[in-house]
Symmetry: C2
Subunit: 343 residues, 2 copies
């Protein structure tokens, strides 16, 4: 069983993953090779993954078989999970340290049957299906009272940490709220106590008055560069209407989120020459369905050549690209209709 | 002038560096090339760097010339600084956002005249000189009341963010205390309020009673794997005697720090096949010379193949190597005396 351990000074929980334990020798010459070989996520190989927990088979007329083919999106438990799904937390001390069982769920959302596809180049309807799969899994896992937070993210490309090429995103359900989430919640709560307004709603209003960091919008979503981004081209997709939890989205919003996401990914794919990227859903912890002070959003960070080196060393962020410049570039970059349709 | 901007939600300050501004096109095909070409840090090229702020010329009999050759360690301002040294902070609002001038110092500690050397393979005395240079620069910059924190770190190897091959470390003096530092201070302060003991001193004692994460020690320093490390082989060098500020080291401690550091670097260099790494000095902010609750230390993180990908995406750390295993490996790895002497 993996272990969750808490840093005694800063209070950060870390998974010490014994399942995937790496011995020192594993680090020598262990470069990840993404290309070629057998892919467990491809259609026809459904039995090579753990049994699916969700799949959409829209064209099977309801006759699709579990773990059979014909799916458009398929969700399976990770074969090498960072956390174990069985058992209890068993919180305990180790001297002055705190630890508990590494209990949780780790799932893979296989975004398309097409091994060579990119999320950016899928039709909007398919992207929407991926987002529905995120939502459906959150709604299901929320019923398990052992989980406090459900984290959804996507690592695209080796430089962003992907270890398999087939397009996929990941879900991790945790018995704790991760530090980066609780910091955001705490900051937003402090602001709300002072102003009785959601800080994200205030940011939205201000950024629309003087749209120098504005990238794009539709009826339901705004795409922005943050005021103090850590990385070049860091971008935020945020719903215009206040809502603390992603899973409360309306169908209308879901279509518009898929569309905003596709636009952003396409602009980066073409304008920034197919960068690796990370995408993280920031949503409310599960125990409360609505928070006045928190506002869910998606954080998008392309991994641009070596610019991410500095803060590794210093623990401090230096961003060489002002967000006003990256926003201008993405705002003005036209993705031609031909490209959108052909791909 | 670069700008310091504060994230309105989590309160993290970020440098938006206009000096080194990257336009979108700079990210295309801009792979850093470390090898070959002209090196401004090599002896004979002293005029190609900004004028030195410190240099040790032990063999010149006091006759060494500023910006001349004959130095063993040389400190120069960064030619492309992330922060500007002139002017005032000029704190101001931009609507609901907070910003100030990116005031600060950014210096390069050139660790040796030998372009092809490695810190790990330098004689202990030379490593000690590098540490003295860190100290001397901190003591000097502390007099500038505009600075709140002096950060010292080293990025070794391209994967760790180094952009120049010649061995060097970096210093950044900041008008704010970085978030990762204030979190550590705050956690240690909370513990002190509760227990009236330094949390780091308590950790030291506990780790020596059951030394499963122990790596090595000498009279003054302990080398340990942390209980909840974020990365494989993350390691901490910590003084045995309570002291909050690095610059208060005795000469005796300085020699032993150089020796502990060399041992650790050599073990990793040989045992882990010359990994890229980051090394960060965690020391007290400058305004107070002694804190009962804080204990300075050095954090060492080798960058092992692609294992650092996950947390980029998730904002959450999964460490595949239990610290007890990495500590055992480093503890038991013998660096032969021959290697130590020859290199």
């Amino acid at each position: 069983m993996p272990e969750l351990r808490k840093d005694p000074v800063v209070g950060r929980w870390v998974i010490i993953s014994t399942n995937r334990a790496k011995r020192p020798s594993d680090f020598l010459h262990s470069k990840v090779e993404l290309k070629g070989g057998f892919c467990p996520f491809c259609p026809g190989n459904e039995t090579k993954t753990p049994s699916e927990v969700l799949a959409y088979r829209p064209n099977s007329g309801g006759g699709g078989q579990k773990n059979g083919s014909g799916w458009t999106v398929r969700v399976v438990p990770n074969k090498f999970p960072a956390l174990g799904i069985e058992g209890t937390l068993n919180r305990q001390a180790e001297g002055m340290f705190d630890k508990m069982n590494g209990l949780g769920a780790h799932e893979i959302i296989i975004e398309t049957p097409d091994h060579d596809a990119h999320l950016a180049l899928l039709p909007v309807e398919n992207i929407e299906s991926v987002l529905w799969a995120w939502r459906d899994r959150i709604v299901d896992l929320k019923q398990d009272r052992r989980f406090k937070y459900i984290m959804i993210f996507k690592n695209h490309g080796e430089a962003a940490g992907a270890t398999l090429e087939h397009p996929h995103s990941q879900l991790i359900a945790l018995p704790i709220v991760p530090k980066h989430v609780s910091e955001e919640l705490e900051g937003a709560r402090r602001y709300f106590i002072m102003k009785e307004r959601c800080i994200f709603c205030d940011i939205l209003r201000q950024e629309m008055e003087n749209p120098i960091r504005f990238i794009s919008e539709n009826d339901d979503f705004l795409v922005l560069a943050p005021f103090a981004p850590r990385f070049p081209f860091e971008t935020c997709i945020i719903p215009k209407r206040h809502e603390s939890a992603f899973e409360n989205l309306s169908s209308h919003q879901m279509i518009n989120l898929a569309s905003a996401l596709k636009q952003l990914l396409l602009k980066c794919e073409i304008g920034l020459d197919s960068p690796a990227y990370n995408l993280v859903l920031h949503t409310s912890p599960v125990e409360e369905s609505f928070r006045e002070y928190y506002h869910w959003h998606i954080e998008f960070i392309p991994k641009l050549t070596n610019t991410a080196g500095f803060e590794w060393g210093s623990g401090f962020y230096i961003n060489p690209t002002p967000p006003e410049e990256s926003a201008k570039f993405l705002r003005e970059f036209e993705v031609s209709r031909t490209i959108q349709r052909i791909k």
